[in-house]
Amino acid sequence: MVFADSEPAAGGVHVSTPPAAVKILVAGGFGVGKTTLVGAVSEVTPLHTEEYLTVASEGVDDVGGVEEKTTTTVAMDFGRITVNPQLVVYLFGTPGQERFWFMWNDLVHGALGAVVLADTRRLESSFASIDFFESRGIPFVIGVNCFHGQVDRGEQEVRDALTLGPEVPLVMGDMRSKEVGRDLLLALVEHLITTLSTA
């Protein structure tokens, strides 16, 4: 359908043009600092929302073929950065259960790209996110959350462990820091610009 951006509605009601919106996803395993990053760069305290998804029942829920689908609730936190009066960037922390993302098209549809956060003590918790974005062709950058400035593994070691190509930007730092979060998002946008100009 066609939406009126700024046309007068019926009865001469005036409508000013609201800002346009884009979306960046923040992914990574449980407890890796997704909401921390969103909170560090967002102009508002991270907001919380939920969605109902209808999913196929797991084997353990099998009740003899009667119940084949079940509704589950997935939750996420998100924040907002107004980059100018006409443009707002929404940052969505993705739900930890990656298997639900495939059923939640609205979450990934239209995303500019993604930030995948990793914790050097359990890099494997980021594998599912990386696989997901690679399979969907969604550009991403890696943010290695170094709590308290601790760096226990070097960049190359992390790249090797995550089998990242050299083109994928990687930023190491404390995600509680607004500057680190900003640099991580900038790395993503620079990466998108480079990809677009060489396309």
Partner: protein
Amino acid sequence: MDDLEADAGDPEELSVRPYTLTQGRTAPARDDLTLITIVKTVDPPPGRSALRGLQPEHHVILRQCRGSAAVAEISAGLNLPVSVTKILIDDLVARGQVTTRPPIAMAAGNESDMNLLRAVRDGLRRL
């Protein structure tokens, strides 16, 4: 109605099932609202007579969207799942009481996309 926002706890604890607010509908009439579709209440806002038949949640949406808000923000403000929120917003779209703006779609190799990315970059640099 401000109490409604303050009192609304975990959806599990709501005294009514969420889809009661939508008269049992589980999907909006149209499926073009996204998490970041921007919703704005028409200006001037609908008068009292135009609000007949609306739920308190519709009033909350109309108030929140005087300055415009994304679907996800409205969902968070109402403490209702996104799918329920979309149905309520759709009611207001059908009544001509809010307008919506879809998110910017990225298409590969497009100059306007480059301008969009530059605008995002410049905005982030000012953080």
